[in-house]
């Protein structure tokens, strides 16, 4: 119970500080790689760097990936939406095999999936007396 709470803890403070230091160090290293000419770095003995071209490439690449990711996510949502004639808009293999618990007087009824015919009858056939109140919510 105590491990799962979102409250501040000493370990979390340490993790946060380590992350802060390492991200600052990574940023300074990136700036050093970008601005200091190759010859100065070679004279210091640090020769195994990636090409300077990648300094410009990495940020642009990340931004383009994020932009395409937005479009891709939208596309994945669209393709995985069931079409109007699909059985998945109505039932499921779980609802077809559900067992009915017998009704106990005074208790809350057990949770189950109500068949669409019953839901329709409740909404549209018996709603004549409820119509003035329900009208504003129906498109």
């Amino acid at each position: 119970m105590v491990e799962n709470s979102p409250s501040p803890l000493p370990e979390r403070a340490i993790y946060g500080f380590v992350l802060f230091l390492s991200s600052q160090f990574g940023f300074i290293l990136y700036l050093v790689w970008a601005f200091i000419p190759e010859s100065w770095l070679n004279s210091l003995g640090l020769t195994y760097w990636p090409q300077k071209y990648r300094v410009v490439m990495f940020p642009i690449y990340v931004l383009v990936v994020i932009a395409i990711g937005c479009v891709l996510l939208f596309g994945i949502n669209m393709t995985s939406t069931s079409p109007l004639n699909s059985i998945h808009t109505i039932t499921d293999n779980y609802t077809e095999n559900q067992q009915q618990k017998e009704y106990q007087e005074g208790a809350i009824p057990a949770l189950r999936d109500i068949p669409i015919s019953e839901v329709n009858q409740m909404f549209f056939l018996t709603a004549k007396e409820l119509k003035p109140k329900a009208k504003s919510y129906i498109d």
Partner: protein, 187 residues
């Protein structure tokens, strides 16, 4: 007995619902969509021809202009014959079944019939179609397992009326189906 009312579809266009009440056990609902408007036809023709003229000035080939005229004519004929649905109707007969007819603008009619033994229920379902819409559908049952829904058939697919129109059709259909359940036909 005939009745006509005007409703709107999910995009806001006008639709007209005609209800024909032949007998307590036989009813027909026709939804008519607005006809192809001259304004949209002119707009599309003008864009296609202007684009063809632009290409002609670029390439100096007069075949482009004739091809554009040909494409416009064929496109219009194809659209009227295969795409533009003028009227959709649903005929429900108690002991016999449910018939759906779509009439296209060129006069073509396409019909689908489901016999009453296959039909489990007619319900209004909600689904996502760029936004959440209500649509009427026929639930078909398996002859092997009558408690399972084997297929969902949406009706009024190209007209797409709104919920007020669907409730009218739903109530009428449920009256007919209740009548059918009360007096089961002999197998």
């Amino acid at each position: 007995m005939e009745d006509e009312q005007s409703f709107s579809d999910i995009c806001g266009g006008r639709l007209s619902l005609q209800r024909r009440y032949y007998s307590p056990t036989c009813r027909e609902f026709c939804i008519s969509c607005p006809r192809l408007s001259l304004r949209s036809l002119t707009a599309v023709t003008c864009t296609v021809w202007l684009a063809a003229y632009g290409l002609f000035t670029l390439f100096e080939n007069s075949m482009i202009l004739s091809a554009a005229i040909f494409i416009t004519l064929l496109g219009l004929l194809g659209y009227l014959h295969f795409v533009k649905i003028d009227q959709e109707s649903l005929l429900i007969i108690d002991s016999l079944g449910i018939q759906m007819t779509s009439s296209y603008a060129s006069g073509k009619e396409s019909t689908t019939f489901f016999e009453m033994g296959q039909v489990k229920d007619v319900v209004i379902n909600e689904a996502i179609y760029m936004k959440v819409i209500y649509y009427l559908c026929i639930l078909l049952k398996d002859p092997v397992e009558p408690h399972r829904i084997s297929q969902v058939v949406p009706v009024f697919q190209s007209a797409k009326p709104r919920l007020d129109c669907l409730i009218e059709v739903y109530r009428s259909c449920q009256e007919v189906l209740a009548h059918q359940k009360a007096t089961p036909a002999s197998a």
